[in-house]
Symmetry: C2
Subunit: 145 residues, 2 copies
Amino acid sequence: MPDLSHGDDAAAVNALRSAVMRLGRRLKHQRVDESLSPTEMSVLGTLARCGSATPGELARKEHVQPPSMTRIVALLEAKGLVRLEPHPDDRRQKVVTSTEQAEAMLEESRRKRNAWLTAVAEGLDEDEWAKLRAAAPVLEKLAHL
Amino acid sequence: MPDLSHGDDAAAVNALRSAVMRLGRRLKHQRVDESLSPTEMSVLGTLARCGSATPGELARKEHVQPPSMTRIVALLEAKGLVRLEPHPDDRRQKVVTSTEQAEAMLEESRRKRNAWLTAVAEGLDEDEWAKLRAAAPVLEKLAHL
DNA sequence: CATTTTCCTTAGCTTAGGTAATGAGTTACG
DNA sequence: CGTAACTCATTACCTAAGCTAAGGAAAATG
């Protein structure tokens, strides 16, 4: 557990927050499927990673309230990107699974995202990119803590 | 300029995108001043860094449309966080400057942000945090490219 | 059983952004 | 010069994506 009370760490924390929020806003504009919101994409990504989940689990994982997830799941189902089945043990819950179509879309969109980030990252040198790549998994862990 | 076409880099890019978007959403909830939106905070940060700017410049820097910046600036002025003066050479434009009150608020809120991020980062070990700290300025540069 | 709790959903609202259209000021060109 | 074209900020209206509050059904608990 790092001690984050030093001036350097405080500065890093500030830089991190500012950069994450600004980058996040720019990423929102780089939708691969114009009709899908960032959170909806994120849900598909989560399902691809975790297999299947109930709406409540998804809401917790995406840090979104249950009613929001209800609408997201309904929309994804209407687009054929997600399948809903009854929960085996609990008739209140449902099980959400991503379809092959969603898989294909995620795979196909990876190239487009890469293209945009590559274009932006052209302003970085090799060393800077190495630092970023080393930090990527950490940032991902942080986002899920 | 790094070559981002390798599999490892593609994976890093994906991790980066996912983490940034998820973290960004969580950061939105950690407002230090409940009445100020993340973008409004970001504008104050930009002004603190760059001194002063016109609404148009701010809109470009924050990747927001001019009408949105008009509203943001008006709100900040109403709160006394920003001062508006006529542009010396161009009577269409205005010059936006942050007040001492805004400076004080930014400084005061730094502790609160640190507290939240520290709490989250307790799940990281020393090595992970070092990687993140090294990447913070790079991420900030990336967000401004 | 009856009560409480949990899970999903429905309904209505809020907020932060965007687009289109306007008006004033500046620049470029005939 | 003076008019045409462009730029900056603004106004008015709209959309998207969340939220809270309230409900209804199923499960857990006494």
